[in-house]
Every structure is written in structure tokens, then in C-alpha cells.
């Protein structure tokens, strides 16, 4: 690892939040004329089962949903007296947050921090105080707001050319070209997810010792 990484990262981040590029020039370019001649109508609802979670920032997530009439009927849900239960869970099933609603069509901004993980939202009803899932949302990988310095195992370098990619693990002590040692097979396994797209082009002969980055 580069011993100056902390300083380089600090320098990279120094002014990042002191101003914003979102002050797009379009802001000053646009002006508005007469009121629009046509007023368009859009659907109030689609009557489809929908549940989606969207990232906003490191501490805010947007959830919207719609429960169709059919599902409400099939599930025997009367939202005049029953409630919908929403659960936010991590990929490994840990429950992170829950909220309720009495509306078949709604939205909710969750204001909590779930760092660097995959999350999913489920909607359900409670029967005998037990949560019964109706369906769940898309999965999203949340933001990270801190450095994730690589361990020796995680520090990977890749060398690209027009038609091939060479993966270089900085911690490999020696290059054993053209062999099929167990260690190298293991190494290749670890690299597999980094090379899926060009797996067919990767051979053991492309593994090199690499500690310099040029």
C-alpha cells in the first residue's frame, strides 16, 4: 500500500464539500416563459403491487409503494382498521428499521444511516403479532462515507490493454509462471469476481508480481 495514501485521500477530499457542482449552469441558462398551454393529467395510481427503495444520501432513503385492490382483498386487509408493516433488512436478514402505514398508496423517507450494505424493504401484515410478508422491494447497495483501506489481500491492480486485462495482486510474493500450483488456483479463485467479464482471456501466465504501479 502507498504509505502516503492518507495524505492523498485527504487532498482528494479537502475541498469536496466546500462547494457544489450542482450549481449547474443550466440554472442561469433557463428562464421561464408563458404558462404552459396544455395541462396534462397523469394516473393517480396503477393498481399494481409495487414496493421500491431508493437511495437519497448516507442517512436518507426513499420508499414508495402501492398495494393493489386484488392483493388487499386476497389478504383480507381493510386499511380502515388494519395496517401495513414495512421492514428494512440487510442482505443477511438483519432487521434494521420498521414503520407502518394505513395507506395502500404511499411514500416514506427513512432517515437513518445504513452504511455500505445491501438492503431490501418488505411489506406485510401482522397475524397473531407475527409479520407475514406480502412482497419485497428491489435491493440497493447503500453509500459509504468513510475510507475503506485495503488489506493486503484486497489490494488489487489491473493492467489493461485493448484486448486483454492482467490482474496484478500487489501482495503476491513471487510469480510462478505457467504453473498450476494449488496456491495459484486459490489466487485465481479470489480474483474470479474481478475478471468475470474477461475470464476467458485470463491465464495463469498473466499473474505477475506487482508492487509498482506503472
Amino acid at each position: 500500500m502507498n504509505p502516503n495514501t492518507n495524505e492523498l485521500v485527504k487532498s482528494s477530499m479537502e475541498l469536496e464539500n466546500s462547494f457544489s457542482s450542482s450549481s449547474h449552469v443550466i440554472d442561469t441558462l433557463v428562464s421561464e416563459g408563458e404558462p404552459p398551454a396544455t395541462i396534462y393529467s397523469i394516473p393517480d395510481r396503477y393498481n399494481k403491487d409495487t414496493l421500491r427503495v431508493l437511495l437519497v444520501n448516507t442517512k436518507k432513503y426513499y420508499v414508495y409503494w402501492e398495494i393493489s385492490d386484488k392483493t388487499l382483498e386476497e389478504q383480507g386487509l381493510d386499511l380502515n382498521k388494519d395496517k401495513l408493516y414495512f421492514k428494512v433488512s440487510s442482505k443477511d436478514g438483519a432487521e434494521l428499521f420498521e414503520f407502518t402505514s394505513s395507506f395502500a398508496l404511499g411514500e416514506y423517507f427513512i432517515k437513518l444511516q445504513f452504511e455500505n450494505m445491501k438492503i431490501v424493504v418488505s411489506v406485510g401484515k401482522k397475524v397473531d403479532d407475527k409479520f407475514e410478508e406480502l412482497f419485497n422491494s428491489n435491493k440497493v447497495h447503500t453509500f459509504s462515507s468513510k475510507m475503506n483501506l485495503p488489506s493486503k489481500e484486497d489490494e488489487l491492480w489491473a493492467k489493461r490493454n485493448l484486448s486483454w486485462t492482467e490482474i496484478v495482486r500487489s501482495t503476491m510474493k513471487e510469480a510462478v509462471l505457467g504453473t498450476s500450483s494449488a496456491e495459484q488456483v486459490k489466487e485465481l479463485e479470489r480474483l474470479r469476481h474481478f475478471t468475470q467479464m474477461e475470464e476467458e482471456k485470463l491465464s495463469s501466465s498473466t499473474i505477475h508480481k506487482g508492487i509498482k504501479n506503472d
Partner: protein, 528 residues
């Protein structure tokens, strides 16, 4: 000896705005102003640099909606009329200001800019601004990159992966049609990245993209060289991080160069300053006062008191600012070199429309920066691809989801004021997928037309500009209405299919107005 590499990147984008029913539609002027104030001044000066023998490199994103508008006969006919009208106003101004030692030369100055713009547009550019970009692209001094098909905010669209694939696929196809070759790089709309996007970029042949610094510094793992070298994503696409320091020097209206008191003031404009009856033919037909481009004052200071602008003095100051920018980059590179085992690289992305529109002297500054680099020989200006060719070996980092918007995440495009649009955009994408799949093998050309127009309405509705403008409360009514228009049109077209009753007059009206991407077919939503 080269101390470092500078990678300037300009992002050129405007949303697709076309109102064929109207002779004069204010929102179409966004394009006309950008052509006259930004694209032509830059291209003219780059041609000048080439004639001087100054070596330069500029990476420029040309978004598909902007390229489509610049290539649209209807809009370009209107642009010619716009120029004529501006020249007419200039002639009136030259007369009106006769005898005024400050304002008369300025009236002549602006009138001549419009005359020269017209000559350049019809001469070197052959009536199409894209000709200028192609010229430098083919020479190798410009790397033109693409963007999302309609600048859709990809992380939020990604709940339907085909929506993202289609945004990228159409962008690549549009770029290839406009420039005769596939793009090597992409400006991700709003620099917005989400986990897994790189896989799609790789599939579409994209070699690099630009991200905000925390995409790399908070990536998995952290980029060991910060933003001063690129990284590769797990799918082998290079990610270049934005350097905040060089951005701020140019971006910041208070601390940045554009705030110099001798530069032209953006807000004082005869569209607002002069007598209503005099200026009426040159503002919006409904009487709403607008910017005309005739701006006679310099920034002067922070109060309302403004003195007359002097273009000659301002031009000289751009040289000093370019020298200052060069000096600071040199110092920055020297510092970075001491921390790295390779020559550092600084990526400076800006909105292209900053240069010339808001910062009138911006194109002159940029070209003076190229002259400084050429003259001194201590920095080298390059493109991302040139860097990757020199340094093919880079760290593998999975970038952190991020954007270049306020606070660095997605707030600007998703908040309490604009969240309502996404329920509709997601539903439309799902319906598009369902209907495209269902009718994929249809031989009915009319059905095909309806489905293809549905796709255009979806794409136009996805433009991130509408959500952005709702947040900034600029042109809010237009943005809300445009979003609703595309949702409404999409559903009306869907109804034509559902009830097997095509309203051909309506279909034609939609096709003429929302005419973006004449080459597409609805099947692309499945095949992309």
C-alpha cells in the same frame, strides 16, 4: 520535465426542448444562447489555437439530446432567425448608443459577435455545430464522449435494469451516428454512479467515466492514490475522479476567477434595463423580460453599482488567470509527485456552458491555459485514454455510489419536492418492457410506431434536468409540465394499443414534437 498531466473535461448538455407549434418559444432559446455564447466561441478559439500551432487536448461530453437538437433542421432554422434578430437588435443598439463613449463600443462589440457567429456557423460549421466537434475529434485534439441517452439519473432508473441499458445503448448508437465512431468514454449523467453500473458500461464498450472524488476515496477499497490516478472497476472500466481544488478555482463565483471585478456582469442586461416598448420585439412575445445577451457592465463589486465593461481589459485578465491556474497546477503536481511513484494526473471537469454563458471570458481563459501549458512545457494536457495508454496498470476499486451534486449523493434528484416523478417513470419502464416483449415480433408498422414513440416519451421523461430544475426552483412549472407531458403521452399511446384504436393525428403530433432519436425502434428496450 513533465511534472503532471492535466485532464480538462467539459460536460456539454441541454435537455431536449422543441416546440414546433410555436414560432418563438422561450425555452428553445436555452439552446440558441448556448450555441452563441458557449459552443461557437469555444470552437472558434480552438481553431485559432490550431492555427497558432498550440498543442491542446480537450475531453468534451456531447450529450445525445444536445447532439440531436444541434442536428435538428427545425431548431437550426429557428437558430438562424434568432441570430438575425440579435443582429437587428445590435444595429438598433449601435444607433441608440451613438455618442456614448462607453456603451457605443460595447453595442458594436456585441453586434459584431452575432455577425461573426453567423459567419462561423454558416461557414466553418456548415450550418451544424457538430461539424466543429467532429473536426477536432478527427484531428485527435478533442475526445468527444457520450452521456446517458437523455441524461437520465441512472441510479434511480436502475430498478429496471433495461431502462439503464437502453439509456446507454441509445447513447452509444446516437454518438456513432453523429460522430462516425463509437464513444470511448461516458460522462455519467450528474456523475451518478451506483453499484454494478460498470458491468453495463463494459458491455457497451465504454472504456472510462468520470466520478466525484468520494466515489474513489470511499470506494471498496479506497483508491490508494486518491483521485490522482484512475482506478479500474471490477468490470474493467476506468474511473477518473474529479479534482476539487482545480474545480473550485474555476467554479466558485466568489473565490473563483469568474468573480473578477473586471469580468462581465451576467445579470445586467438590456433585456431588463431598457424601456419596455423599445426592447419588446426582442424579449419574450408574452412580454416577459429575458436576457438578450447585450450586457454592458462589468461585475465592478458586490453592490448594484456597476461600471461599463471593457472587453480588452477583461481579455488581458484571462491571461493572468490562466498563468495563475498554471502556477497552482504546477505546485499541486509537485506536491503530489512527492507522494506518488508515478507522474500525477489532475482531472478538472466543468459544465461546458459555464464557459461563455455565465463566465463570458471562460473560453478565452481556457485557450490561454492551453497556451500556458504549450509555452512552459512543465505540464502536459491529455485525454483519459492517453493517460490509460501511458499507465495501463491501475488499482481495482469498486466505486462508492455517488454523484457530483450538492452533498455528493442523490438528494438533488430525489427529495420531497420531486420524488413523485419516480413512481411514474418506473411504472413506464416496466410497461415498456412488458409491451416491447409482447409485441417484439409484430409486423404491424403502425403498432411499431406507437411503441417506438412510447419509448421516446419514456426517455424524455427520464431526463434528470426536470428533477434538477424542480429542486433549484428554476423553470419549475416548465419542468413539472414536461414530466407530466411525457407521462401523459406515454399512457395515451399505451391506451391506443390497449383499445386497438390508433389516433394517427395525435401520434404524428407526438412524433413531430418529441422527435428525438429518429433511428430507434422500440425493440431496443429488449435487445439493449
Amino acid at each position: 520535465m513533465i511534472k503532471g498531466y492535466w485532464v480538462p473535461v467539459l460536460h456539454s448538455h441541454l435537455p431536449f426542448v422543441k416546440h414546433p407549434k410555436y414560432e418563438n418559444f422561450l425555452e428553445e432559446h436555452w439552446l440558441f444562447e448556448a450555441i452563441t455564447e458557449c459552443y461557437i466561441p469555444l470552437l472558434k478559439r480552438l481553431k485559432g489555437l490550431e492555427d497558432e500551432g498550440v498543442d491542446f487536448r480537450l475531453t468534451i461530453s456531447m450529450t445525445p439530446p444536445l447532439a440531436e437538437m444541434l442536428d435538428d433542421d427545425h431548431l437550426m432554422d429557428k437558430y438562424q432567425k434568432y441570430l438575425d434578430k440579435q443582429i437587428e437588435l445590435g444595429n438598433k443598439e449601435v444607433e441608440r448608443t451613438k455618442g456614448d463613449e462607453h456603451f457605443h463600443p460595447l453595442a458594436v462589440f456585441y453586434r459584431d459577435i452575432f455577425i461573426e457567429s453567423k459567419e462561423f456557423f454558416n461557414g466553418f460549421l456548415e450550418g451544424n455545430v457538430l461539424t466543429g466537434y467532429k473536426y477536432f475529434y478527427n484531428k485527435g485534439s478533442m475526445e468527444v464522449i457520450t452521456c446517458g441517452a437523455t441524461h437520465g439519473f441512472l441510479p434511480i432508473l436502475s430498478v429496471n435494469v433495461q431502462a439503464v441499458r437502453t439509456q446507454i445503448e441509445i447513447a452509444v448508437q446516437a454518438h456513432t451516428r453523429h460522430f462516425g465512431r463509437a464513444p470511448k468514454g461516458i460522462w455519467l449523467p450528474e456523475c451518478a454512479y451506483y453499484d454494478g453500473l460498470d458491468e453495463i458500461l463494459n458491455e457497451k464498450g465504454i472504456k472510462f467515466f468520470i466520478v466525484d472524488s468520494h466515489a474513489l476515496t470511499y470506494g471498496r477499497p479506497t483508491s490508494l492514490n486518491g483521485v490522482y490516478t484512475p482506478t479500474y472497476t471490477p468490470s474493467n472500466v476506468a474511473a477518473f475522479g474529479r479534482d476539487a481544488l482545480s474545480s473550485k478555482q474555476v467554479w466558485s463565483s466568489k473565490e473563483g476567477y469568474p468573480g473578477d471585478i473586471n469580468y462581465r456582469d451576467f445579470y445586467r442586461d438590456i433585456g431588463y434595463d431598457l424601456d419596455f416598448d423599445y426592447i419588446k420585439p426582442y424579449i419574450n412575445p408574452d412580454g416577459v423580460r429575458v436576457f438578450t445577451g447585450y450586457k454592458y457592465h462589468k461585475i465592478t463589486g458586490e453592490t448594484d453599482y456597476k461600471e461599463a465593461y471593457n472587453p480588452g481589459i477583461a481579455k488581458e485578465i484571462t491571461k493572468g488567470h490562466a498563468a495563475d491556474f498554471h502556477f497552482h497546477r504546477e505546485k499541486q503536481m509537485e506536491h503530489l509527485s512527492s507522494l506518488m511513484d508515478r507522474t500525477p494526473m489532475v482531472v478538472s471537469p466543468y459544465d461546458a456552458e459555464l464557459f461563455g454563458h455565465w463566465w463570458f471570458e471562460g473560453p478565452e481563459f481556457l485557450c490561454n491555459m492551453f497556451r500556458e501549458i504549450h509555452k512552459n512545457g512543465t505540464l502536459k494536457v491529455i485525454t483519459p485514454i492517453e493517460y490509460l495508454n501511458m499507465y495501463p496498470k491501475n488499482q481495482v476499486v469498486n466505486p462508492n455510489p455517488s454523484s457530483w451534486g450538492d452533498k455528493g449523493y442523490y438528494d438533488v434528484w430525489l427529495n420531497e419536492g420531486n420524488a413523485w416523478i419516480y413512481r411514474h417513470l418506473h411504472e413506464m419502464a416496466d410497461i415498456m418492457q412488458e409491451y416491447a416483449q409482447k409485441h417484439f415480433h409484430t409486423n404491424d408498422s403502425n403498432l411499431s410506431r406507437v411503441l417506438t414513440q412510447m419509448l421516446r416519451e419514456l426517455l424524455l421523461g427520464q431526463s434528470s434536468d426536470w428533477a434538477f430544475l424542480m429542486t433549484t426552483a428554476t423553470a419549475t412549472e416548465y419542468s413539472v409540465n414536461r414530466t407530466k407531458e411525457h407521462i401523459s403521452n406515454f399512457n395515451e399511446l399505451k391506451g391506443m394499443i390497449d383499445y386497438n384504436n390508433i389516433d394517427f393525428a395525435k401520434l404524428k403530433e407526438f412524433e413531430e414534437k418529441n422527435s428525438i432519436f429518429a433511428f430507434i425502434n422500440f425493440k431496443i428496450f429488449i435487445t439493449s
